[in-house]
Symmetry: C2
Subunit: 319 residues, 2 copies
């Protein structure tokens, strides 16, 4: 029986809600899933006898706002953030598990739209939600665990960058940060920016192509901050060449209107889930990636055009 979408989750009841969610999550079965939703745990392929796993939590008001994003958008975003973490290890995703804490007065329709967003983002890389939990909570909290497998590959770590490597980027930067500013000022456009904040689109296939990288990370905190993690873990100095960072016209235009610095969005904006990696040979950098810097011996810091980067400093240099 189809659930009444106008009901609240409390009215529908826990077991009927779980059944409705499981039905909405249904998709073409993934061959690596031995046991999916409905048992104590899921059982999923882990070729190479190693599993890659990460867990992210998104909370209402911090990672999403119900007046800015649809449930479907939020589902996509929650899945994308986690799938990007699997690709950043050089691994192939195999499954998602999702935990939802929901206030009793949430509409069933909203929860099922969220499930659909999760399902459709997972389907982009051929995987599914194979388990999880739904509980009552004071506010909406979405926990996603992504699983992946390595096969015969070694994991690509943050600690693998070596002096002499080149730094390369796959994907767009700054769009999500600019979109967030638009939304917070009450605008719903430009769509390219606002949409990027609502639903990041990590370039999964480019990440997969970067399997010869010596280190990789997905940009969730901002390019300089995330490369800072790589510099620290690898014990190397990283210098970025700002002229190699392409500033899209939509960013330039928006920065002009709002008196912002587009390069600051690119260097510090998080949540785009682009991938940045180091390669020992420029010939290993796959098509679709852009070389944006170099790795050298030295203090584990990130510089831009040879200068220590901080926001105030950057504004000064770029004036």
């Amino acid at each position: 029986m189809a659930p009444n979408l106008a009901q609240t989750v409390a009215e529908l009841g826990e077991f009927a809600l779980i059944d409705a969610i499981a039905e909405r999550l249904q998709n073409e079965p993934h061959e690596g899933v031995t046991v999916g939703i409905g048992d104590d745990s899921a059982v999923v392929s882990a070729q190479g006898s190693k599993v890659v796993a990460c867990l992210d939590v998104l909370t209402q008001g911090v990672h999403f706002r119900l007046d800015w994003s649809s449930a479907n958008d939020i589902g996509h975003k929650a899945a994308a953030a986690n799938l990007a973490d699997i690709f950043a290890m050089g691994a192939t995703p195999t499954a998602l598990l999702v935990g939802l804490a929901l206030p009793a007065d949430m509409k069933v329709a909203w929860v099922l739209d969220l499930a659909e967003g999760l399902r459709d983002e997972a389907a982009k890389v051929g995987v599914q939600v194979v388990g999880g939990d739904v509980v009552r909570g004071d506010s909406i909290t979405i926990s996603v665990t992504a699983l992946g497998e390595l096969g015969t590959q070694q994991p690509i770590l943050r600690s693998g960058a070596k002096p002499g490597d080149v730094v390369a980027l796959a994907g767009e930067l700054g769009f999500s940060a600019a979109g967030l500013l638009m939304l917070s000022r009450g605008f719903r456009s430009p769509r390219a920016l606002v949409g990027a904040h609502r639903v990041p689109t990590p370039p999964y296939e480019l990440a997969r192509a970067g399997h010869k990288a010596t280190s990789m990370i997905d940009v969730s905190d901002g390019l300089v901050a995330d490369l800072g993690h790589v510099a620290k873990a690898s014990g190397v100095a990283i210098n970025l060449d700002s002229s190699a960072l392409v500033v899209d016209e939509v960013l330039t235009t928006a920065a002009g209107v709002f008196t912002c610095d587009a390069m600051e969005w690119i260097l510090t904006g998080g949540e785009d889930h682009a991938f940045v990696a180091t390669f020992s040979d420029a010939l290993d950098v796959p098509a679709g990636w852009t070389v944006i810097g170099t790795v050298a011996q030295g203090e584990p810091v990130v510089t831009v055009d040879g200068q220590p980067y901080d926001r105030a400093g950057w504004r000064h240099f770029s004036a």
Copy 2:
């Protein structure tokens, strides 16, 4: 530098908090962990090229109350609930991932005590917290993913019970439900009951010994409800023999004082995380397990002493 335990998590800041948690989680390394905390994802052993994974969410006010349970208790409980789900698949746990949503005014000391509880429960089965996420939220939400491996074993599913099997139980039932009632009436004793509600103690080693089971589940919703899942998934009828269900004296005494039915606690109380399983041969039931019923052809329902079970009915029968 040791963190200031009296600070709030907002005062300490995100990165220092994560460092402090990671330090508190430190434990003897598990040989199956290739990559632990500190990269985009963890990498963990999955012998047999399959991973077993589950995710549970615990929310403040629903699964725990800060005035009833210490942070350490809550950490133990969150880990135990998930580890039990791995053992119920016939698998061996390999790692935990933990997501925390925390209000800005939580004390650092509380969060680190929670981490210690998680660490110590995981250590009981030789595993560790290998990754996770810490975010700001309106109330405390704890998400735990447990991972496990099967090696050459097949997973033990809910769907494997066959007519002719015996039903057997490992662990205590009803203690947590009784303890919850004591706490809700303002009591802090008897310790055996209140303690069982605060920190369930799933009999992990007994579950491991039950590897010849045809089906297994951990009792989180209540014995009759959880065996109902097995009956439905397996398409069999299950009958329990109430005389085989040992009623501990502490339950009998508490039931007398509070005018409750101890057998109702045993049949319907959740959260003890005992294990119930079916075995095709009574000789396969390991030491420490008790045979409590039988599996037969028929409608997929659970009966007690041959009668359909419902709370009202049971009260009537047992009067």
